[in-house]
């Protein structure tokens, strides 16, 4: 893989490069209440499951509304179990958070594009806000498995919103945190930690996921510093399979290709950040 994907916006990677997809029953086997409104849920799939970091599942749960909801795979465990990080935002997440252990969901995945491991001479620097941390657990597991380290910048409103901090430390990552109320780490936004992290990393490769305001700020700093940057974009999704066209983001390829809407479920959720036309994005700060 190359540092900067040649194809603008990495449109529709050949499915041959990605793990097979299936709609499988998955049983909730454990619940870890991370904060008053967030849980880490562990599921066991009925069949085999391969997932690359950054990919997501479309999950259907009884009482959770008509449409499935997208969740980044948080971690994939050796026995084929996977975890999801869920924060209550509506009827779908609420149904999942109220599902009793032993209950079943339908999980369609793995879907979408992936975070690339950086080339050997670059150091991963991750910037995540709130539940945007989810895809980086599996990512950092892979980074650690390749015998490398990275820097994880984690932001949230208050200390309880800095989910899974300890997991990253176990992977040997250099974890730095920020909270808007000052209850943990830097008092303020996580992006304030970015300059120092980039300097410490030497030759950094940026990865980000979280609120649009944060992503935009990270993208500005990355562009200014000439640092490669992959971003996971979350949009309201209908199908996750590229058919409803509900989850699009406007792409303006720097290579000069045509501007167009790309599907965050298929050409994304992970994009090269320079591809996204942030100024035309309908989800401002």
């Amino acid at each position: 893989m190359t540092v900067s994907s040649e194809a603008a916006g990495r449109p529709a990677p050949s499915r041959a490069d990605l793990p097979p997809r299936a709609d499988q029953a998955a049983t909730l086997v454990a619940r870890n209440q991370l904060s008053p409104d967030a849980q880490l849920l562990r599921f066991e799939s009925e069949g085999p499951l391969r997932v690359l970091p950054g990919q997501f599942a479309m999950v259907r749960v009884g009482g959770g509304g008509l449409l499935r909801r997208p969740y980044s795979y948080c971690d994939l465990l050796d026995d084929g179990a996977f975890t999801l990080l869920v924060k209550e935002v509506g009827v779908g997440t609420r149904a999942l958070m109220n599902l009793p252990v032993g209950g079943e969901v339908s999980s369609l995945g793995p879907l979408g594009t992936t975070f690339d491991l950086p080339p050997p001479d670059l150091t991963p620097v991750i910037v995540a806000g709130g539940v945007g941390i989810a895809p980086f657990v599996l990512f950092c597991r892979r980074v650690a498995q390749s015998g490398r380290r990275g820097i994880v910048l984690l932001g949230g409103r208050r200390r309880p919103d800095l989910y899974l901090w300890d997991a990253f430390e176990r992977f040997g990552m250099d974890v730095r945190v920020a909270s808007e109320d000052g209850s943990a780490g830097h008092h303020g936004l996580v992006t304030a930690l970015l300059d120092a992290a980039l300097a410490d990393a030497g030759r950094p490769f940026l990865y980000s996921c979280g609120p649009t305001g944060m992503l935009l700020r990270v993208a500005e700093l990355a562009t200014a510093a000439g640092v490669p940057h992959q971003v996971s974009i979350e949009r309201r999704m209908g199908c996750g399979m590229g058919c409803c066209l509900g989850c699009v983001v406007w792409a303006r390829p720097p290579s000069g290709g045509p501007e167009e809407y790309l599907r965050s479920c298929t050409e994304g959720p992970v994009f090269d950040a320079e591809t996204i036309a942030w100024d035309r994005d309908p989800h401002p700060l």
Binding site: L66, M237, G238, L245, G246, V248
Partner: protein
């Protein structure tokens, strides 16, 4: 093959001159260009695929947000983002043809001329078996009024498509017309071979905290199980009130839902929104229809069309 799993039931239907191996058609706008679901849906249960609506030129579509969930339904305002007819024929059609499925091209026009031009292009294309005419498009020449709301305009759009092609022509009716059967009769006179209905119902939702519409386009189309009782009624009216074969759709999630449409007069049905919810809908609906036919000793699924009885008692 699907037929082997239900050896005693003939699942084939014929509609608008098309012989379909099953009565289940993928609805335009919910099944992409046809091959997106190949890993997760049982394609052997699919009788035909109506691909995403095509204009002459590519369209970027509406800005997001484009979708919103409602009680048992879904709002969408995609604005027909699509690649245009030429790229469809060159890049998309080969992939879906490779799946061995009957392909119905769904076309949209901003003018009568565009409908006619699309029909002529498709008439020359290999591998397209019928044309579904989306008449819920705004007519630019008439100030953006939908072709489908007015029986005359619906008939004129049908007529130009009819003149442009020998393929079966299937206007897709808008539920905004107050007399659906009247529209069906007019498009029949204009040369339609069948009609499909219902297209989505114009609807909207508001984020009361921001006081802004949930969709960038303000109004979108409502689909899903919420609209099914409305769709069943309209199919019943059109099947009784015109002589055209009817392809029914609206929130079909399983065999029982599909049967409602068949019993009130549909010759075939389309599955739309439920593709998003559950790709297993194809296998479940197909198997359920076959099991129903066996349980009710019906030899062929086509024999069910229009067999609703009158009265509710004994």
């Amino acid at each position: 093959m699907a037929e082997e799993k239900s050896a005693t039931v003939d699942m084939g239907v014929e509609v608008a001159g098309l012989r379909l191996p099953t009565p289940l058609i993928a609805a335009s706008g919910t099944f992409g260009y046809g091959d997106e679901y190949r890993e997760v849906a049982d394609y052997e249960c699919i009788g035909a695929i109506s691909v995403k609506g095509l204009y002459l030129e590519p369209r970027e579509g509406c800005p997001p947000p484009r979708i919103w969930e409602t009680p048992s339904g879904m709002l969408n305002a995609i604005g027909l983002q699509e690649v245009g007819i030429r790229r469809f024929l060159a890049e998309k059609l080969p992939a879906v043809r490779a799946l061995g499925k009957i392909v119905i091209a769904n076309i949209c026009g901003s003018s009568l001329e565009e409908y006619g031009e699309l029909a002529k292009i498709l008439d020359q294309a290999e591998g397209v078996s019928a044309i579904e005419v989306n008449i819920s498009c705004p007519n630019v020449a008439e100030g953006g009024i939908e072709f489908g709301c007015d029986p005359d305009m619906a008939a004129r759009a049908t007529e130009v498509v009819r003149r442009g092609t020998r393929l079966p022509v299937i206007p897709k009716l808008s539920p905004s017309a107050s007399d659906m059967a009247a529209v069906a009769r007019r498009v029949a006179e204009a040369g339609a071979d069948a009609v499909s209905l219902i297209n989505t119902i114009p609807a909207m939702a508001v984020d009361v905290e921001t006081r802004r519409p949930r969709l960038a386009n303000v109004v979108g189309g409502l689909s899903g199980p919420a609209v099914r009782p409305i769709a069943v009624r309209m199919v019943w009216e059109v099947a009784r009130g015109s002589r055209l074969p009817v392809i029914g759709m609206g929130g079909i999630a399983n065999a029982e839902d599909a049967l409602e449409f068949l019993l009130v007069g549909a010759a075939a049905v389309q599955i739309g929104t439920m593709n998003f919810v559950d790709p297993g809908v194809w296998r479940r609906t197909f198997d359920g229809l076959a099991a129903y036919c066996r349980r009710h000793e019906v030899a062929a699924v086509r024999d069910l069309t229009g067999t609703m009885r009158s009265g509710t008692a004994g």
